[in-house]
């Protein structure tokens, strides 16, 4: 029986209740979980941490604009096949001429077509029970990809090209499939319909504090307070690209090398701003704000 129990995060990963529930639901129903949300909110982390925590095998397929279903499932390596069959001919000729040495096919046998099937992450995941399959950033894919994928996933069965080998897995042992998307492109309705959908809300300050605690165990509360304050303030002023969890964590990582007092001072001066603010215009804007009303900024970042 597969791991269908409720999983709500690990030591290093805070899985919000809603998300945990959707993920659980997806595993129980054997449907893929489609996660959308702002970049940097831990979409990709979920399956990685889950696999780590439950000691399951993880297979990742990063989607790109040239992704196709063959890369995802399996493709037949014609080139290798042709090369090896040629080598057989050559070897026969060599033998005829009395040459002792022969060329190697690397253990592959041209009579066994299965040797030439290059399995993609999907085929691998479906041949190892209870694994985790992550399909990352599906919104980068060409339009046909999600629909092809859908067909492949819903049958729980792959036929390998040329060799005709059939990979099949029972619903119980089906891998937990997680698909992430940044909403850069609208996915086909039919595709979404077959998935469990979850939109990650941006965490509020309380949740964020818990997330920080998961990452940095021994961080001074005061430092976190200051950091959170500045962080959420930056998010409200309408920057081109508002900082997200990832940026905040990086910023804190940077500040960790200093003592708490030093760190707070540095933070108030927005030292290491580059970790938080990612575009030139935003950077200029924030710097202008500090210059024009440093008091205001300080007040916000230091409520006591």
């Amino acid at each position: 029986m597969a791991n269908k129990s409720f999983w709500e995060g690990s030591k290093h990963y805070l899985c919000e209740r809603d998300l945990a529930q959707s993920f659980h639901m997806a595993r129980v129903l054997g449907m893929p979980l489609l996660i959308e949300g702002e970049p940097g909110t831990g979409k990709t982390e979920l399956p990685i941490q889950y696999a780590n925590d439950t000691n399951s095998e993880l297979f990742v397929y990063p989607v790109g604009s040239k992704s196709n279903i063959e890369q995802f499932v399996a493709r037949f390596d014609h080139v290798k096949y042709l090369r090896d069959s040629q080598i057989e001919v050559l070897n026969a000729q060599r033998e005829e001429k009395g040459l002792k040495t022969s060329l190697s096919t690397g253990g592959r046998n041209p009579n066994n077509l299965a040797d030439y099937v290059a399995k993609g992450p999907a085929a691998k995941a479906f041949s190892s029970p209870n694994s985790v399959l992550l399909i990352d950033e599906i919104d980068k894919a060409p339009r046909e990809f999600p629909n092809d994928l859908l067909y492949a996933l819903s049958h729980r069965k792959f036929v390998m090209p040329e060799s005709g080998e059939i990979l099949e897995i029972s619903e119980e042992e089906m891998p937990a499939i997680v698909i992430t998307s940044n909403r850069e492109q609208e996915l086909p309705t039919a595709f979404k319909g077959r998935c469990i959908y979850h939109y990650i809300q941006f965490p509020d300050a309380d949740t964020m504090r818990l997330i920080i605690e998961k990452h940095f165990e021994k961080l001074d509360d005061k430092v976190i307070n200051v950091a959170l304050d500045i962080f959420y303030h930056l998010r409200t002023i309408g920057l081109e690209r508002a900082p997200t969890t990832r940026e905040l964590l990086n910023w804190l990582k940077y500040s960790k090398q200093f003592s708490s007092k030093e760190a707070i001072e540095k933070m108030e001066k927005l030292d290491g701003l580059g970790a938080l603010v990612k575009t030139q215009t935003d950077l200029e804007r924030v710097q202008r704000m500090i210059l024009t009303s440093p008091e205001d900024f300080k007040k916000r970042s230091n409520p006591n």
């Binding site: 959308e36 040239k66 080139v79 042709l82 040629q86 850069e184 309705t189 809300q201």
Partner: protein
């Protein structure tokens, strides 16, 4: 079971059909649905497919399961207080619990919400709270630290056990019955939250002592969602399904672009191999991918275009799905002078010169009714239009106005001489696409 459920969702502009019901049924079979809060979560995962449907979904859910009808723009709290279900539940709860004297209305609503959105995981968490508690879980500490008494825990265990003894059929029947009752009979009261005896928290059980302050996650979210304009966008027309417009667009052909992937060219390998008297060496060719670049220019100003805005939006959405990789949209008002705009409100201008610097392989769709005051088609604007046509050979003008009126409008006639003009209908689009796909002869 729940035959009316998809209908309710659909009436709120959500996508739901018999498959939703089947899935819901499967979820119930798999023990995923044990409380009303579970139902909220499970159905949400099936029905809500983008953030902006969350608001309508929450509304539909309250309407169907709780008979709470939320007026547009109303706060969830007010809608709850107004409702019959809430009043009945409150009376009932008051009669059974005596520690409620000092409760404010907000406390009541909080309580109500935390019960409605209570999930089986909340209950389970309380039941094996002790063991999790020992495992040093800071998240949990926050939640149940405010006084979980031993006997209360026992009590919860009991109620949960009571509940799980009900057979599935019984449970479904009751759920259905209650939903029906609440729909038809306004004095039906809220069986879900209260005396029905089926709800695991019916006797103030599991949630007593506050599993979470101020409503559970779901309750908090529901409230936030209903107050947030982001979740109620003005334009929430669902993506239209594949129909003839899509088919017409599907025939758009792009230019081929080289990619990093090689593949075996079988024909060439055989040919070359034969030349070498049977020594076949793999011949590789680069794989070419189709790349489609589209610029969309939309006339979205003026009353004359208003009737067509909807159609255009639909088309626009289609295009977005199809050409997400390279689709640029600009807006203009009536005609193009020296600028087009990046946003529908036409505040962010882009100089035409910049547009004209783009790759000439872009296919340009101009959508507008071409009807304007004759003075607007000045030398400048005619020049701009001509420049576009000169630069982008594959440009068409799609006119939402029926073709039979075109000849009666002066400006349309002029524009028709600059661009190939087609009506904004599936057939028109198909013809436009055919025109665009034609090889340009120099």
């Amino acid at each position: 079971m729940f035959e009316k459920l998809p209908e309710t969702f659909r009436s709120h502009g959500l996508q739901a059909d018999v498959r939703t019901l089947l899935l819901f049924r499967k979820a119930i079979d798999s023990n995923l649905v044990k409380t009303l809060g579970d139902a909220y979560q499970v159905l949400k995962a099936f029905v809500v497919k983008d953030p902006s449907s969350l608001g309508p979904y929450t509304k539909a859910y309250y309407e169907y399961f709780l008979n709470i009808d939320i007026h547009p723009g109303e706060r969830l709290n007010d809608a709850i207080i107004r409702s019959e279900s809430f009043r009945n539940w409150k009376e009932d709860y008051q009669a059974k619990n005596d520690d409620t004297e000092n409760w404010t209305m907000d406390d009541w609503v909080d309580k109500f919400l935390s019960l409605v959105h209570l999930t089986q995981y909340d209950i389970k968490r309380v039941i094996d709270g002790k063991s999790i508690f020992d495992k040093d879980d800071p998240h949990l500490k926050d939640e149940i630290s405010d006084g979980v008494e031993e006997d209360a825990k026992e009590h919860r265990l009991d109620t949960m056990a009571d509940y799980s003894e009900l057979s599935l059929e019984e449970l479904l029947e009751r759920m259905e019955q209650i939903a029906d009752e609440q729909k038809s009979r306004h004095d039906g009261g809220s069986h879900w939250i209260g005396t029905g005896g089926i709800s695991p928290y019916g006797h103030g059980g599991a949630a007593k002592g506050g599993i979470r302050k101020g409503g559970t996650g779901g309750g908090k979210l529901a409230r936030k969602v209903l107050a947030d304009p982001n979740f109620f966008p003005v334009d929430r027309d669902a993506l239209i399904n594949d129909n003839n417009v899509d088919a017409a667009l599907a025939s758009l052909k792009g230019i081929f672009e080289e990619s990093a992937q090689d593949f075996l060219d079988v024909d060439k390998t055989i040919k070359e191999g034969l030349k070498r008297a049977g020594l076949f060496l793999p011949e590789l060719t680069k794989k070419f991918d189709e790349k489609l670049q589209v610029i969309l220019l939309i006339d979205n100003g003026g009353w004359s275009m208003t009737p067509y805005v909807r159609t255009i939006q639909e088309l626009f959405k289609k295009m977005k799905t199809r050409f997400a990789q390279d689709l640029e949209t600009y807006y203009f008002h009536n005609t193009i002078y020296d600028k087009v705009y990046k946003d529908p409100r036409r505040t962010k201008g882009v100089y035409l010169e910049r547009l004209l610097k783009k790759d000439p392989n872009y296919k340009v769709f101009i959508i507008g009714d071409a009807a304007m005051a004759p003075y607007e088609l000045s030398r400048l604007s005619v020049g701009s239009l001509k420049a576009i046509q000169d630069k982008f050979k594959k440009t068409v003008w799609l006119n939402p106005e029926p073709a039979r009126y075109w000849n009666h409008t002066l400006t349309t006639n002029i524009i028709k001489q600059i661009f190939k003009m087609y009506p904004l209908t599936p057939r028109g689009i198909e013809k436009a696409v055919q025109h665009i796909n034609k090889k340009t002869s120099k």
